[in-house]
Symmetry: C2
């Protein structure tokens, strides 16, 4: 079928690129760094969105929408934010094109904006400028708002889903009367992300806090979830920031407290993006293609018929109608692949490549025996079972697969997490094994920088509820009270 | 409560602006022409999105995502399209800002794009450029794709929801093997829009086709739904275009037919936008505020308690818990407004302003009598009813309200549709009555233009299945075989 892909051991990066392409997930567009998310890829993203959106609403948040453009001057207002975000971004300078008279379309120089507009790389500035008008008293707080949107960061080296100039994401922006409430919100949203990653994506994550160096530009504290990919590299899958009063001060957002005092508002922001698609692909898939956890699979069960005669075809159709109706009752998403333009073998490979968790095959012998062949994608096993009680069996199987994919990834993560006590060992593990390396660090920016320069590994996070234990920094030998997690990262 | 608004008769336009503001639907942002859609307004839009999205999927469409940016040169490829869309739009010319050394953020002139990028005003060009890679044979057709996205058109005079520089919309883009199939698709999607407008928005519409003048830039035929607002002006609520082979030719998209011939692909596109929010507001609301059809109301029932003692308060809470649980069972969206910071009268006015279809009030006397006061927003009536069977009664009431709002709008539309047979009568009706005017027209661009210049009325559409009847053009006296619908429009 010409859809075979490079194996992971052969070239992991090439494997990823081919998988994204051949499973019809996404492709590069005519615009540098911007991707097209194809219908099958987008259907997975929609399932992610729906699950996350429900979790946000269950925790009291509402959606809203803020402008795509941000006036250039807004970025100068929060000092550290401008360094992080207002550099590599798309700048709108004009608002009109015109025909130059020879049929060429050119920019109309007379339609120049007084102040350039930045295509949002993130929306803290425009949102906090808006919140100033929404907040007067403690009665207006908290504001618990989320936005689903596209953002643009002018990345020089891009990879589909993992790093693109334009990407889709959600960004929560909340406003609170107290520091404690804002911190609790940031922590709650980290929990939401971790729960989503583990329960829906079947992807185990480490919850932690970023070091000062890796913190979001403008944040007091950045919480994150970190996942491990099959090549032993870490991927930051979501972040939640406690922003202190930084943006409230930059945009002059104050409220009158219960006690009648005028105070600056406390803030959080938190986001996950289409990058999660990259994480999902890399966490579970194999050399035959995608492996999707059933809870995020647009098609959970595909049925492939095998027949020689028209009579057999019709008999199979009747059985499938029955199965599809029963599946619908249980909210199982089933597809009957009755294309007569492709052979069964082609279909098997295609649905395997696309990661459909369960495949049913019905042939002439099955009709006679009252059976169906059932194949599970994750373990690539199959068995022939009675058609009686099949939908119940599938329901159980889907839950099993969801759990099993998580367990496999969890086992991998644990095997690939190594405690080391010397810099030599650190380098040796990083070189030969990869994964998370748990080591003592003296807490300084200098040491962190040195390790990064010498090994390309960064501190992924200081795990939440980290065990306190005395030790010495693997580089400087200075005393340390806890281990942090290092890894090479996407 | 300071939330009173200007009446419709006093100043319709001012009434609209105040309603959008005070019902917390949307507001102007710091960026010229771009709006902030506030949580309550966005919740209504989300209900619209969910209903439309399901209708699109039920008719076989999938969602996908294409880049925000379009290379400038793409607009030159389809001649009529460039005139319509590539003029007033946001142009990205640079990809970097920098600190100029004195702390000012300036555009980095060294980071100038080789080719300017246009922020999409609509996506036909980038999508058809993409489809070229997706289509080889008739087996790849049809492509039935929809995109939910933000688009930008640099409008000089903007009004919240009705005309903004950035707005949210969906745009369907389909590709077909035959002309007949593409036309059937364009007509099907017009039906979807009309059904949505009438069944969900409770807003009667006329289905029709645009004249050549009013057609979408690049379309062979534009279908539309037109609604009538309470001030007698028409509003185009959705369009569906048969694009012929125009974009396939412009972007060289061909397929091999079953017969082995290489042919250009046939296309449609269709869209509705946040403009529907403006239509929804103007179609039904009154001088007390929003009137929302229950099927699109984020809150369908609000409960306001009236108590003097803590004991009464607790007793009401118990009753409300019961009601809320029963409502949840029936998927009725209920809110208990138990704020102790506001008086009942304030709450009544607020929920009326926000258009909540049903309000329940529970007071001390109700507790004693086993009753509840139930008020319906649309007719501003109330009655006291037994709490027994209340949820069933509410369910029926919500359906009644949905129907009643539609009926009121339908009666209004019929009353405001006038057949005229002379230009004098035309002008008289337009001036004194407004609404749709059904008149004979000679079918020429010149006459259409003359009428527009002299009266500001445009041909809203040639209704679908229009009655064929002989007559004479009201302006030129030339023969005509059918009446068309004129109106002043938003």
């Amino acid at each position: 079928m010409g859809k075979g892909i490079t194996s992971r051991t052969e070239d992991y990066s090439q494997w990823y690129n081919e998988l994204v392409d051949k499973a019809d997930l996404a492709e590069h567009s005519a615009v540098r760094g911007c991707m097209v998310i194809k219908p099958y890829g987008f259907a997975i993203w929609e399932k992610m969105q729906a699950a996350l959106d429900k979790m946000f609403k269950d925790t009291g948040h509402s959606n809203a929408y803020f402008p795509l453009f941000i006036p250039k001057s807004f970025f100068s207002k929060e000092a550290s934010h401008v360094e992080g975000f207002a550099t590599e971004c798309a700048v709108v300078t004009h608002y009109r094109l015109k025909n130059d008279g020879t049929g060429n379309i050119v920019v109309d120089e007379e339609a120049k904006l007084e102040e350039e507009l930045i295509v949002r790389p993130t929306s803290e500035t425009i949102i906090w400028n808006t919140y100033r008008g929404w907040i007067e008293s403690y009665r207006d707080l908290p504001i618990l708002v989320n936005q689903w949107a596209n953002v643009v960061r002018w990345e020089m080296r891009t990879r589909l889903f993992l790093r693109t100039a334009e990407f889709l994401w959600q960004e929560g922006h909340t406003a609170h009367a107290t520091q404690a409430e804002a911190i609790a919100e940031a922590e709650q949203m980290l929990d939401v992300y971790a729960t989503f990653a583990e329960q829906w994506m079947a992807m185990p994550v480490v919850r932690g806090r970023k070091t000062e160096t890796e913190r979001f530009a403008g944040a007091v504290d950045t919480y994150c979830i970190e996942a491990l990919m099959q090549d032993g590299k870490a991927l930051q899958a979501g972040t939640s920031h406690f922003l202190g009063q930084n943006f409230a001060k930059a945009f002059d957002v104050k409220f009158t407290s219960k006690e009648g005092k005028l105070e600056h508002v406390w803030a959080t922001s938190w986001g996950v993006s289409t990058r999660l698609m990259g994480a999902l692909i890399m966490a579970h898939s194999d050399d035959a293609g995608l492996v999707l956890p059933p809870m995020l699979a647009p098609i959970q069960v595909v049925i492939v018929p095998i027949y020689k005669t028209e009579e057999e075809r019709q008999e199979i159709n009747l059985l499938v109608d029955e199965l599809m109706a029963a599946g619908k009752q249980k909210d199982i998403s089933m597809k009957f692949d009755d294309r007569d333009t492709h052979r069964p073998g082609f279909k098997f490979a295609e649905w395997e490549l696309k990661g459909v968790p369960v495949r049913l095959t019905v042939g002439a012998r099955d009709l006679k025996n009252g059976t169906v062949e059932i194949a599970r994608r994750d373990q690539r096993t199959k068995e022939t079972v009675s058609k009686e009680g099949l939908i119940d069996r599938i329901e159980t199987l889907l839950a099993d697969i969801q759990e099993s994919i998580f367990d496999t990834a969890k086992t991998f993560q644990m095997e690939k997490t190594t405690e080391v006590d010397s810099y030599e060992e650190f380098k040796e593990v990083l070189e030969n094994k990869g994964g998370f390396i748990s080591a003592h660090w003296d807490g300084t920016v200098e040491t962190e920088k040195q390790i990064k320069e010498e090994t390309k590994a960064t501190i992924r996070c200081i795990p939440i509820n980290n065990k306190q234990e005395l030790g010495t920094c693997i580089v400087t030998g200075k005393p340390s009270t806890q281990r942090v997690l290092f890894a090479k990262a996407y």
